[in-house]
């Protein structure tokens, strides 16, 4: 894989200065998940505000790809209503798992930079990790 393609400016920006990034290490309300393949850990805090819109923050010990993916994800879903959030992560995960067309990522702004790693099934797991965690929190644990 070409390095400049993977570690392009957008990915670098998001990984060095991730958006919606908070220290959640000691926050008991944050959900924590570890990626068993690589040991990366993500913590996500989320709640629905009075307008039923999503408030979200994360922190993680992860590589540039997973951190950038999480940063972009929080940008995309924050302020959205639950139904919309569910539709978004479902669509993104479908693309990343190969059952929907890659070009759909173009509708999600910065996330389109990940079209290049769709062909690399191992590294792709890094990009999937935050999205799968969000899905697990909302579908399996969160009210």
């Amino acid at each position: 894989m070409e390095l400049q393609e993977l570690y392009n400016r957008t990915v670098r920006e998001h990984s060095i200065r991730p958006h919606n990034f908070l220290n959640l290490k000691k926050n008991p309300q944050a959900w924590e998940k570890q990626n068993p393949e690589c040991g990366d850990t993500i913590r996500i805090f989320l709640q629905w505000n009075s307008q039923e819109e999503l408030e979200i923050a994360f922190d993680m010990e992860g590589c540039a790809v997973s951190t950038a993916s999480a940063s972009m994800m929080t940008d995309i879903v924050k302020g959205k209503k639950k139904q919309e959030v569910e539709k978004i992560y479902q669509e993104v995960l479908d693309v990343m798992k190969g059952s929907k067309e890659a070009n759909l990522l173009d509708t999600y702004g910065d996330l389109s930079v990940f079209k290049g790693i769709l062909a690399y099934p191992v590294r792709l797991q890094c990009a999937i990790f935050p999205w799968k965690t969000l899905q697990d929190i909302i579908e399996k644990r969160y009210l």
Partner: protein, 426 residues
């Protein structure tokens, strides 16, 4: 043709590399790198010499038939080759043929012991003693057994660099321990546990010992009689053999008493609608048509390694390891987790501020295959207080030049990531 050590006593690595077709092939890694791979992930799996590849092809082209059943000529040829392989492996380990059970690999060998031996010999209240840094394959089977049989798991403390804390070994060897199951060489640190002493001291307390030889048998001479281990498990694919074949060595006295692992063809003597009687050892533990060409390929790999000389391989690998350790140590911001002495060629390290995945990705673009992650040993990695490490693991076909190239690329990685891609908290 097998290579003899040259008279000047230098290891003929350039000649040896010619035996490995994959090491000759060029790969497209990136716009700037179209070249053979610098393969430094030998603890995961090794490359295969053409002697082994040829043995597999030869089997399918000239010997293929089912074993132990067919009376015709081909069946005799296949059976003879398969059993000859068992003999080669037995000789290699100093074991008897009937003590060699073919499995899919180390993992299945350990699961076999947990199922067939553990269920019979470990009763409620007994404990299984492991080390703190076991590979998941020598941990999870015991967790499953412990839950089922209400056993306790205990863990021998290991030093920060992955070496055994021998001072406290005695505290853990008590009459409640039903089995000691430990690795011989750590797949994370490369550290070597003093197996012979540990086994001797366990036996003083009548504790049987299973040795996970996945990282030792491919690299150093291992003799089961000298070690006196009760069980030894290892995989073919980590020693130039095919995947899907491995070995369980077990002392005959245990195999005679163990229950079958799986039921099916070949493991029986006579079968009636309601019951069956079982075949003699080791066939009792090899249900179904075995991985015949795998066994043949593994034996061929062992012949290949033996012709080079396990001791010679070990000495050369030691030279590579010492060199790699000294070169890595000099790189600023590299943290090495491995002990650096009395170890085999597995080196875990990290580059400060650069996540192991990102570093490994960078190295891949330079044509270097090197592992980043938890190496199937999460408890060991947690002990280091990190999420993941970079791991280089060497074999006898690696060269000093490859290590130089790795070091050069690590320096470039630091530059590429501007000495750290770690985020700043807003």
């Amino acid at each position: 043709m097998e290579h003899a050590m040259s008279e000047s006593n230098t290891f003929p690595v350039d000649e040896i590399r010619k035996d490995f077709p994959l090491l000759q092939k060029k790969f497209y890694f990136s716009q700037e790198r179209y070249a053979p791979v610098v393969y430094l992930d030998n603890a995961a799996t090794t490359q295969k010499p053409r002697q082994v590849i040829d043995a597999l092809v030869e089997y399918y082209q000239e010997q293929n038939a089912n074993v132990h059943r067919a009376l015709y000529t081909l069946g005799e040829i296949a059976t003879a080759k398969y059993e000859q392989s068992r003999k080669t492996i037995a000789n290699f380990l100093g074991a008897r043929e009937r003590e060699i059970v073919f499995t899919r690999g180390t993992t299945e060998a350990i699961n076999l012991v947990a199922t067939s031996w553990g269920k019979k010999f470990l009763g409620e209240g007994k404990s299984i003693l492991l080390s703190e840094i076991e590979h998941h394959s020598n941990l999870v089977p015991w967790q499953i057994l412990a839950q089922e049989k209400k056993l306790k798991l205990k863990f021998l403390p290991v030093m920060k660099d992955g070496t055994m804390d021998m001072a406290h070994l005695g505290d853990f060897l008590d009459s409640n321990v039903g089995l000691l199951a430990i690795t011989h060489v750590s797949n994370v640190f490369g550290s070597v546990f003093p197996a012979q002493e540990i086994i001797f001291r366990a036996h003083e307390k009548n504790i049987p010992v299973l040795l996970d030889g996945a990282q030792s048998v491919p690299h150093i001479p291992v003799n089961v009689q000298k070690l006196d281990c009760d069980f030894l498990a290892f995989s073919g694919h980590k020693m130039c053999g095919p995947t899907g074949i491995g070995v369980l060595y077990a002392k005959e006295k245990w195999l005679q008493q163990m229950a079958p692992y799986q039921g099916g063809g070949d493991m029986i003597l006579s079968v009636w609608p309601e019951y069956a009687t079982y075949n003699e050892i080791p066939y009792k533990f090899e249900a179904g048509t075995p991985h015949i060409e795998g066994a043949i390929g593994l034996a061929r790999a062992i012949e290949y390694l033996s012709a080079l000389g396990m001791k010679n391989l070990w000495e050369y690998e030691k030279k590579l390891t010492d060199y790699a350790f000294s070169r890595l140590k000099k790189i600023k911001n590299v943290k090495i987790f491995s002990p650096g002495k009395d170890q085999l060629g597995v080196l875990s390290f990290s580059l400060e501020g650069i996540h192991p995945h990102d570093a490994a990705q960078f190295l891949d673009s330079k044509g270097i295959a090197l592992r980043a992650g938890t190496h199937c040993a999460q408890p060991a990695i947690r002990k280091l207080g990190v999420n993941a490490t970079l791991r280089m693991s060497l074999y006898f076909y690696n060269t000093l030049e490859e290590i130089d190239y790795l070091v050069k690329c690590l320096e470039e990685a630091k530059e590429f990531f501007q000495n750290g891609i770690t985020r700043t908290i807003q």
